[in-house]
Amino acid sequence: MGKVQEITVWASGVVQDKEARDVAQCLAAAAAKEGKFVQGFDNYVDLPDRVNVPVRKYARISDSEIEEKYLYENYNPEIVILVEPTLVKGINVLRGMKGGGCLIVNTGRSPEEILKFIPDKKPLKKVACVDAMGICPKAVIDFSGSEGAADAAGVGIGIGAVLAGAAAKVSGCVNIDSLMAVVTNAEAARRAFEEVVIKQL
């Protein structure tokens, strides 16, 4: 089995549940379009139906077949995406990151302001900030639960597309063209790809 690139998306429960799910699903679907082996799923141990509880969504991308079907958590994430920037304070979002990782935060603040709240910066290689609500002022809230049963609004229509576009630029895990083919709001993904503020460490 080759190297598996693990992506963890953190968000607030219910209010950002769909957008966070879209980030993970869009990145996985875009990588699948490039012929890679992918997985995209939610963490069921979190409390997904309580408002503002921290929830996690996962994606895995690999060049060869992913064998770890029964690991329900990304223990060593390489790319961490925060849909809710405040989570950088409340919890160690970089837990398990081995080195050369990326942190992508949905905020209008500068990467330096975010770095202030991270005590251990060793595993990080890049910190990026993108003002998702500024690029696409739309965060879809749905109550279809975390399984993504009925997604009437469209996958990647709000800030999820923006964060996926930023992740494509910062980490290079997917190509922006294949991502734009997957998301509904392709223009937002393109703008995020161009406007994301990256700080190298």
Binding site: N52, E84, E113
Partner: protein, 112 residues
């Protein structure tokens, strides 16, 4: 008769989603520290506060602490729901973005 019970060591048991033991009287709930959920922090203006204790009644987490001459918020458990700011009759509670503050009241290593 054979015993078919499977004995699983405690550390290998699956995490119980959302199930938290009830706290003992006059104690904290260390299994469910909710301070990390907070997006907007309630800040009490001591000039305006009349000590009416309405926020203490309404706080769903019991995070309002009343002392002799001031009202404080327990930031370890306050999840920033904003009910206190909404019910305050004199408007003494303001909600400020958590990232504006440099102090970190709660920093969990992992969720559960």
């Amino acid at each position: 008769m054979r015993d078919y019970t499977v004995k699983i060591p405690k550390e290998k048991l699956l995490p119980e989603a959302g199930i938290v033991k009830s706290p003992l009287p006059n104690s904290e709930q260390p299994d469910m520290i909710t301070g990390g959920w907070r997006i907007l922090r309630p800040v009490i203006d001591k000039e305006k506060c009349t000590m009416c204790k309405t926020c203490w009644i309404f706080c769903p987490d019991g995070s309002i602490e009343i002392t002799e001459n001031e009202v404080r918020v327990n930031l370890k458990y306050c999840k920033g729901c904003g009910i206190c700011a909404n019910v305050c009759p004199v408007g003494a509670i303001d909600r400020v973005p958590e990232l504006d503050f440099d102090d970190v009241p709660v920093r969990l290593e992992k969720l559960f």
